[in-house]
């Protein structure tokens, strides 16, 4: 029964991954720790394996929809291991509480930037005041 619940939660995690382009680990890890009583490290490691497979399929679908810049993705992906090493070093030298607050601040800043963009008026939208009035039709020469 627990494995069935974990499967349903992972299905939801996959939908989230496809919708917003994250790996889904935020959902996979608790599914394993809560319903399959896995340890945190084992759950995170297993989740990473799942993320790799889910991302392959998700990328394949998004390539089909024309939504992938493979060159940029390659640069980001191939240079991320440098960051992983930096992260591990920083994690061992800075208090965890400070790290969590720092990340929370960054997440809030990103959320603010995204929301600002979501609610910004679209200049191409004819309803938007910035777009100005519709040009009047040429009335022709005066009679």
């Amino acid at each position: 029964m627990d494995i069935a619940i974990a499967c349903v939660i992972c299905l939801i995690g996959g939908v989230v991954a496809g919708l917003i382009g994250v790996g889904g680990g935020v959902v996979f890890v608790p599914a394993m720790t809560i319903f399959l009583t896995k340890g945190q490290v084992e759950a995170e490691a297993t989740s990473l394996m799942m993320i790799a497979l889910v991302s392959v399929v998700g990328t394949w679908r998004q390539v089909g929809y024309g939504n992938v810049n493979l060159k940029d993705a390659a640069v980001i992906g191939l240079l991320s291991p440098v960051g992983v090493l930096v992260g591990v070093v920083v994690a061992n030298s800075v208090p965890e509480r400070a790290l969590r607050i720092g990340f929370a601040m960054l997440a809030l800043y990103m959320a603010w930037r995204l929301l600002k963009r979501v609610f910004a008026k679209d200049p191409d939208d004819p309803v938007s005041p910035e777009a100005g009035p519709e040009p009047l039709a040429d009335p022709g020469p005066p009679r």
């Binding site: 919708l19 490691a45 991302s55 990328t59 390659a74 640069v75 440098v82 992983v84 959320a111 929301l115």
Partner: protein
């Protein structure tokens, strides 16, 4: 690709990797908003490109966890990844049918949730 762009994307990759190493969160949490905010990516292009970049990050991290420490439960992972793959196919299909800004809105809500969890947890 011009050098400035490569350095910028390298910074995005490094930051994504750093947060992955620090908090065990997927790099996508960092990659998607950075691509949208600083590279004028559309929402769908950002999420698709993020998924492609995550393949490399997750493969390397999983290989290190599994190869060096034996932490990966392959059997459980293979059972759970089936429904997750069905989910990601559905998720990408749904994404093409909703307004692009809805993706940003959803992502912003998730970032706020992550921020609260980071501060309270």
């Amino acid at each position: 690709m011009e050098a400035r762009r490569i350095w910028g994307l390298a910074a995005v990759g490094t930051l994504a990797g750093a947060f992955s190493g620090l908090f065990g969160v997927g790099g996508g949490t960092v990659i998607v908003p950075l691509l949208i905010a600083f590279y004028q990516y559309g929402d769908r292009l950002a999420t698709g490109t993020s998924l492609a970049a995550i393949i490399v990050i997750a493969l390397l991290a999983a290989a290190m966890h599994g190869g060096f420490y034996g932490n990966v439960d392959i059997e459980t992972g293979l059972i759970l990844v089936g429904p997750a793959i069905v989910g990601v196919v559905a998720g990408t299909a749904i994404q093409q049918r909703i307004p692009e800004k809805a993706v940003s809105f959803l992502f912003a809500l998730i970032l706020i949730g992550v921020a609260i969890e980071m501060m309270v947890g």
